[in-house]
């Protein structure tokens, strides 16, 4: 069984009816637990008139009120530090983490107990095993750990599954590239943005990443890990397969992973999570093939039961049968597509940064880019994509600029995009989550209207 394709063959291939029975049973027990132990949940459920005994079928999940991020933050503000969400005393916790705060918002604080913390690495282990990580691998984390939870669970998962695990905090990108080459690393883990940065620095150092022993690149933290053009570029430069995963601090770990069959999306770990897809801003449930907001219920972290949490992530669920791997876990086609609150309305057209990135990354001459939103004197919104070219690609610009402008317009109902060139090294690089959208729009009253 040690060469099994599955981390947990029994459950990963469980018939859907049994998987759903398991979900219902776990949901009932978790809700009972949360209602009994968390003053926050008890108050919330009582106010909504919901009783745990009303959960007779999975459809009854719709009776449970949603948890919104803002109300969680408000709860933590009302009852510092963690709110009355905890089901056990703070002294039972062994880990503190918080959200990354890349959006500038107040970070959300979470605690984990001993079993919760091991469960977090267990979810990563399931995903890493599915992509082919084995005890013989040498796994390199091109990431600096801290109070943000990113990749911590993945690090412990690699120890758990027996791989040689290398942390690389506090190093330069140059140092990391050299270590990847010198230490015979087979698997690199990083955000998609930072994978691209490693590629850039390797190129500057004259290191051909295809000649290293890396055969797997595993990404997390940004939607780009499932963008086909990004994956193609990474797989080409590294001579390796690339996988997307996604998680969130609120649940402590990943809830989706890409298996080695690379179905064009990520499987949902459905024995540990219930993932609903709802129409954004409403409670209408959407079916396979419809894009909507994911709402997660996690069975893992009992310390802070997360039941029907509105994530703001945009996803499209398709059936498990779209993958040949044999798992009965459904799939998010294209992983996390973006965030509902990332969407910008430009002259009446919806623009998602991830959709712009998907088009920009089709052009391998572009090294880095930035989306800038401004308001012209006539109050009309303008969208500009600034592009930094790779060394030696200067000659491509005259054709690339109009082509990219046309493709962006074609992908956005004819919306006009300005495409400008940025100087070498002018645009920012990122290790954690990239912030490539700069919104400079301000409401200025034009002179003639005063």
């Amino acid at each position: 069984m040690s060469d099994s394709e599955y981390w947990n063959p029994k459950i990963e291939t469980l018939p859907r009816e049994d998987l759903q029975r398991l979900q219902l049973l776990k949901l009932q027990r978790l809700v009972d637990w949360g209602y009994a132990k968390s003053p926050f949940l008890k108050r919330k459920y009582d106010q909504a008139g919901f009783k745990p005994e009303q959960l007779k079928s999975l459809d009854d999940i719709r009776r449970i009120p949603f948890i919104e991020r803002q109300e969680w933050l408000d709860e933590q503000k009302r009852h510092p530090l963690f709110g009355e969400t905890l089901t056990a005393g703070q002294d039972e916790a062994i880990r503190y983490h918080s959200t990354s705060g890349t959006s500038g918002a107040t970070p959300l604080r979470v605690l984990d107990g001993t079993k919760d913390w091991q469960w977090i690495s267990e979810m990563w282990a399931l995903g890493f095993w599915a992509f082919g990580v084995r005890p013989t691998d040498t796994v390199y984390f091109a990431f600096s750990y801290g109070s943000f939870i990113g990749f911590w669970g993945a690090h412990y998962c690699c120890e758990k599954l027996g791989a040689l695990t290398i942390a690389s905090g506090g190093q330069t990108t140059e140092g990391r590239v050299k270590q990847i080459e010198e230490l015979g690393v087979t698997t690199v883990c990083a955000t998609p943005t930072y994978v691209l940065r490693l590629q850039q620095v390797a190129s500057e150092l004259g290191i051909d990443l295809r000649k290293t022993q890396v055969n797997k690149v595993i990404m997390s933290g940004e939607p780009a890990g499932s963008i086909p053009a990004v994956k193609r570029m990474i797989e080409d430069v590294w001579g390796a397969k690339s996988a997307d995963t996604a998680g969130m601090t609120e649940i402590g770990t990943i809830m989706i992973f890409e298996c080695s069959h690379q179905p064009g999306g990520t499987h949902i770990i459905e024995d540990h999570f219930i993932e609903e897809v709802l129409e954004p801003g409403s409670d209408r449930s959407l079916g396979y093939g419809e894009k909507g907001e994911r709402v997660v219920t996690s069975f893992g972290r009992g310390f802070i039961p997360l039941i029907r949490y509105r994530t703001g992530d945009l996803v499209e669920k398709v059936p498990y049968s779209e993958c040949s791997c044999g798992r009965t876990y459904d799939i998010y086609k294209g992983g996390i597509i973006g965030r509902a609150d990332d969407m910008k309305l430009i002259r009446g057209t919806n623009v998602f940064p991830s959709a712009v990135e998907a088009i920009v990354r089709e052009h391998s001459e572009i090294d880095e880019f930035q989306i800038v939103l401004t308001k012209a004197e006539n109050l009309i919104d303008e969208i500009t994509v600034r592009c930094e070219l790779k060394t030696g690609s200067d000659g491509a610009w005259s054709q690339l600029q109009p082509a990219l402008s046309r493709e962006l317009a074609d992908g956005h109902e004819g919306l006009r995009f300005n495409v400008e060139r940025a100087g070498a090294g002018e645009l920012p690089r990122f290790e954690l989550k990239a912030k490539r959208l700069v919104d400079q729009r301000e409401w200025k009253i034009p002179q003639e209207a005063r």
Partner: protein
């Protein structure tokens, strides 16, 4: 006969696993055990919780045992 959370009979390997899990719980429930035992068995119990939970053999919380 022991069953999993879906009501299915456990196989021999699963029964063995549940014996280990229940044994670790019973040990941690004792009051007079030295710290080196409590903390190491706690970590072991957390690992056993994950293995048994993965297989659908149990789904419960262990915070009252400090795990």
């Amino acid at each position: 006969m022991a069953v999993d959370v879906l009501g299915r009979t456990l196989n021999g390997q699963e029964e063995e696993l549940m014996r280990l899990y229940d044994g670790a719980k019973a040990l941690l429930a004792k009051s007079e055990i030295p710290p080196c035992v409590r903390r190491n068995v706690g970590v072991a119990l957390a690992a056993l919780w994950n293995a048994t939970n993965d297989l659908g053999l149990q789904f419960e919380q262990l915070y009252d045992l400090g795990v």
